[in-house]
Amino acid sequence: MSQTMLDDSAAFDADAEAARHLALQERRGRISMILRYAVLTAVGVLMLYPLIWLIGASFKNNAEIFASPGFIPKDPTLSGYVKGWETSTPYTFGRFFWNTFLIIAPKVIFTVISCAAVAYGFARFQFPGKRILFASLIATLLLPNVVTRIPQYLLFSEMGWLDSYLPLWVPSAFAGDAFFVFMLVQFLRSIPPDMEEAARVDGAKSWQVLIFIVAPMLTPALISVALFQFMWTMNDFLGPLIYLSSVEKFPVSLALKLSIDTSEAFDWNRILAMSVLALAPSLVVFFMAQKYFIEGISAGGVKG
């Protein structure tokens, strides 16, 4: 009897101890949780503030931009946008947006088609030389562009393609971004080929399988590819800088650089307004489709 009482009280003590321990843990957990949110919020504000300031400052007048670190304009004005849209060239900013679109649209389409076909070949077929070719794909991922850029320039110059969009378009028609092929191959490998085999048994040709079965399954990954190519081309500066020389063909990135060279010393809100405009398409696309970005980057690991 006393033995059981002893046991009981020991068990009671242990329970109380455990409860106290749990409460302590819970409190510690809550403190660490608050700490986490504090750090995350502070870092987030610090990171995004420059962008918020940029948007606010683009509506300030020139006198106010360098007057206070706040982002809310005291005397909001659209003059930066009006002047920025006019640009210091004979063309409006709309022209440069159109040029950017002319570069991006074919590039994205070529990339999606060529990369899908090549990834299909790598993921679903055996053929002589496949291992070496796949290894070359990984090698080009790591190969710095800087080493091939000069001969590429000479090649395009030889073909008379300078000051046209061809040097920017054509490589993408040949699955020029190895990274996308790699990402699609990884994606395809995670899908069992059952449906494709069934279709083949029913007599479908391999290209029919690609178009009617593989492409629909690949759609989410292809959207990621298109979005990343859109962003990268939007941000690409060195390519247009090397290949384009007439202002009438400039994309937004070059037009922006041109305008800081000519009017930065005095027309600050105009430069800031043009910067906001230049970032706007990327921001809009990102917020509309961020799921694809995060998934794409987690799946393959993207540069950036």
């Binding site: 940029l54 360098f66 076909a117 299909y120 070949g121 000069i150 040949f174 800031l272 990327s282």
Partner: protein, 294 residues
Amino acid sequence: MSGESRFLGFWYVLPYVIGLLIFTGVPFVASFWLSFTDYRLMRGAEFVGLENYVDLFTADRTFMRSLNVTLAYVALTVPLKLAFALFIAVILNYKLRAIGFFRTAYYVPSILGGSIAVAVLWRYIFADTGLVNMALGVFGIEAINWFGDPATAMFTITLLRVWQFGSAMVIFLAALQSIDKSLYEAAAIDGASKWRVFLSITLPLLTPVIFFNLVMQMVQAFQEFNGPYVITNGGPLRATYLLPLYIYETAFKKFDMGYASAIAWALFAIIMVLTVVAFWSSKKWVYYAGDKRS
């Protein structure tokens, strides 16, 4: 699949093979050859043997300066960016509300960071009366001449890259979330401290993605162009005159293609050596859990 040529798959990868030859393979070999020539546009190539390389390493002070600042830039940027990405990913990897919100907020700079517009913004942020100096002024701290001093100028272009830690962070976060929870439960039963758990479980299991991020970020950092070109224009005193800038000016301003190719190959050799060292050393520190990886 009977009756089909065993080359069928090859037809699908053919575009890649052609592109590989024309836009990568041939240029790769050609640039190596060009680096042994004196090639100026309109005049053609003249073979000069090792002259370009001898010049680079014995007579060209700009090159040595540029090489030094490039190495400093990479050594500064890559570890900072990865450490920051990992730190934030670990904090995010708990059952937090609004994890999606924070992930998005941190990822935005990676999406926009490569844009010229952001480089332009950086000039305003670090200008003499720019955002940072105005903010410092609020706390009574004296304004800093960011672009006037070699060390602070380097800091501004490094910060632009570190600011874009989001993509590396998303990769870390995906890896963290795929770690088997039972490992943590077992460690908790054994009474291991959080720091101990991080060092003995989390970090080893993350080494494959750390390695991946390390190599990718390094290769990219060596090729940084937009930041120094637009923000600091290589200055002051060439303190941010990274090798890609030097290559660009030699090749596309002076059209001295042979010499520029030699600089490019010197840069390429450095990247190659460091990549090989990374791969070689990875056998010692990268941990692959069984055959789960594929």
